[in-house]
């Protein structure tokens, strides 16, 4: 396996709640290799964006972070804000879930794309904007030089997503976090944006954390997959292995709901929503101390609710967090 770029150990995030802290992330572990793509999947509210924000050091006010995030050999948990500012937009970059609202509505996009390069590279505005033209051209925005002066409202959703990607690529980050890059787009554009991300990963040797509740997108782009539920990773491993032989009841349910997985065809196919499992994700206060999936699981037994099940290997590099794996297969 290639050199490990990012290694997350026992990462916890507790959000302030009315009746005490609410666990938004319950001690998650994963790794991303240099140049690798990890797909993070799970239903709405499972903690995918929270994971991304924890990595960026941009958690909501009052959130408590613990555990370890090692990135390029450095521990990020506990790093002072100024050091995090130096990393953000520079070594780790992120595109956000809502391209409609994630760009400043009153600033031309050229300046928004140029800003991180001026900040981290010390480029002058002119140099940074020349570079922005190159990036916008690379992400497929037509007529980029003229577009520098455009405002976000003048772009389509797909174009805004491309601008967000260009904005994130400015300083050639080692890790790009793409939070739901295709969710807000229509099907043909989804396929194009996904293809663009795959090309960029390939040509830049950049690692990608691809967050999506669109399993097709992840199957098409990711080398590895982690499945989240209720702030915990319930299964992770190489994409081929997880998609061919899901072990955890939740992952089984998700993947069984998909039509035949043929990665080549999948990019751009209609989204498979994760709705095959009865019930819905409870809010953060609704989880007990044990397996977060217990309330919706068909195999639940008393012991499931006692303690969080640990991740146990099911095949090389592939593990799942369920105490009844033996009974299931």
């Amino acid at each position: 396996m290639a050199e490990v770029l990012l290694s997350v150990r026992n990462l916890r995030v507790d959000l302030p709640g009315p009746g005490g802290p609410l666990p938004a992330l319950r001690g998650i572990d994963f790794e991303i290799a240099r140049g690798g793509t990890l797909g993070l999947v799970g239903e709405s509210g499972s903690g995918k964006s929270m994971t991304a924000l924890a990595l960026m050091g941009l958690l909501p006010e009052g959130a408590k972070l613990s555990g370890s995030i090692r990135f390029e050999g450095r521990e990020l948990v506990g790093l002072p804000e100024s050091a995090l500012c130096d990393l953000r937009g520079n070594r780790i970059a992120m595109t956000f879930q809502e391209p409609m609202t994630a760009l400043n509505p009153v600033q031309p996009i050229g300046r928004q794309v140029a800003e991180s390069m001026m900040l981290h590279r010390g480029f002058s505005r002119a140099v940074a904007e020349d570079e922005a033209v190159r990036l916008l051209d690379r992400v497929g925005l037509p007529d980029p030089r003229r577009r520098l002066a455009s405002y976000p409202y003048q772009l389509s959703g797909g174009q805004r997503q491309r601008v967000m990607i260009a904005l994130a690529l400015g300083c050639a980050p080692a890790l790009l976090i793409a939070d739901e890059p295709t969710t807000a787009l229509d099907a043909t554009i989804q396929g194009q944006v996904l293809a663009l991300l795959r090309e960029l990963v390939e040509e830049r040797g950049m690692a990608l954390l691809l967050i999506s509740h669109d399993l097709n997108a992840v199957a098409a782009a990711a080398t590895d997959v982690a499945v989240m539920y209720g702030g915990a990773i319930v299964e992770r491993g190489p994409a081929t292995s997880v998609f061919r032989a899901p072990a955890h009841p939740y992952a089984k349910g998700l993947i069984a709901a998909l039509p035949a997985l043929e990665p080549e065809r999948l990019a751009g196919a209609p989204r498979a929503r994760l709705q095959a499992i009865p019930g819905s994700v409870p809010d953060l206060a609704g989880f007990g101390p044990g397996c977060t999936f217990a309330d919706r699981c068909a195999w639940v037994i008393g012991a499931c609710r006692a303690a969080p099940p640990p991740l146990v290997p099911v095949s090389p590099g592939h593990s799942a967090a369920c105490i009844r794996l033996g009974d299931l297969s």
């Binding site: 100024s82 500012c85 953000r88 937009g89 956000f96 994630a102 400043n104 009153v106 800003e115 900040l119």
Partner: protein, 316 residues
């Protein structure tokens, strides 16, 4: 952009025409014959008839309305019944006090309101923020005229830094004139500055929650840089609307504060003219106030278009 401006200009003209009509009609219906007032109680009916004819009061209302409007467009606001001088010469003198007073008060409002509001927002829920919120709550609840009296007591009577009232005019230099306006402007500005500080604060706090602020942070900008480079301009959009309204309030408030500080501004002229049934003057003042308010609204619209690119394009 030009469509946006043209529409705003048309609205401005329509508003002015409408307010002129209202003013005219109200004064038409109001009891009291200006010729009678001018003549005094001893006048004979013949004298009254002659005077009414001379003052043009016998023409039909519509004709008088249109000639009034037409004359104003050429800068002729008519002749004061009471003083026998052109209305404009009276207004001019008073405007030279009231407009600078309102402008100084507006500048104070903007300075204190914006600075304190942004400062508090940057310290959301921390001691500095809470202190500003407490002080501004106090500022809002203080009545204008009472605060004006307190300022006079402290700075004029006790400390002797300013005179307790009166206005030296602008002949002795701008400095002297401004000095005389400082206390009245402060009295006027306090409430508005407190209101503006609160509105600015909540607007900035709202904008700081928005997605694009997180994007800016994700680029590696620190909190302060995000506030100045990204949040502020967005936060100003609602704040500017409020400032436009506040200017109108300051103009009206000036009329009251001028009484407390015995300043010879529009305020005094309004009261005298109403008492004298000096209708030409009253009409002139009201139209001028309406014009100033409408003009400020127009300026606000222009600022909007400058701040928010979406407006320029969408020809609202």
């Amino acid at each position: 952009m030009s469509v946006f401006l043209a529409k705003r200009l048309a609205t401005m003209v329509a508003t002015l025409l409408f307010s002129s009509l209202v003013v005219f009609l109200v004064l038409e219906i109001l009891p009291g014959d200006p010729a009678q007032v001018l003549l005094g109680v001893d006048g004979t009916p013949e004298q009254l008839a002659v005077l009414r004819e001379k003052m043009g009061l016998n023409a039909p209302a519509a004709a008088r309305y249109f000639s009034w409007i037409g004359n104003m467009l050429t800068g002729d606001f008519g002749t004061s019944y009471a003083y026998g001088v052109p209305v404009w010469s009276l207004l001019e003198e008073r405007l030279a006090l009231t407009v600078p007073l309102a402008l100084v008060a507006m500048a104070m409002t903007a300075l204190f309101g914006l600075v304190l509001g942004v400062w508090a927002a940057a310290r959301h829920n921390r001691p500095g923020d809470l202190a500003i919120m407490g002080i501004s709550q106090l500022g809002i609840s203080i009545p204008n005229f009472w605060f004006a009296l307190m300022l006079i007591l402290l700075f004029a009577v006790k400390l002797g830094w300013f005179s307790a009232g009166g206005f030296p005019g602008w002949e002795d230099g701008v400095g002297e004139g401004l000095k005389a306006l400082l206390l009245p402007a402060l009295a006027l500005a306090t409430v508005q500055a407190a209101i503006l500080a609160r509105i600015t604060r909540s607007s900035v706090i709202d904008v700081l929650q928005e997605d694009f602020v997180r994007t800016a942070r994700a680029k590696g900008l620190g909190r302060r840089a995000v506030l100045w480079r990204h949040a502020l301009r967005n936060a100003l959009i609602p704040v500017i609307t409020v400032m436009g309204l506040q200017f109108a309030e300051l103009l009206v408030g000036a009329i009251v504060v001028e009484q407390v500080f015995t300043l010879p501004g529009m305020g005094r002229l309004v009261f005298q003219s109403i008492a004298n049934r000096d209708l030409q003057v009253v009409k002139g003042i009201v139209i001028l106030l309406a014009f100033m308010v409408v003009a400020v609204n127009f300026a606000v619209d222009l600022l909007y278009a400058l701040i928010d690119p979406r407006l320029k394009a969408s020809d609202v």
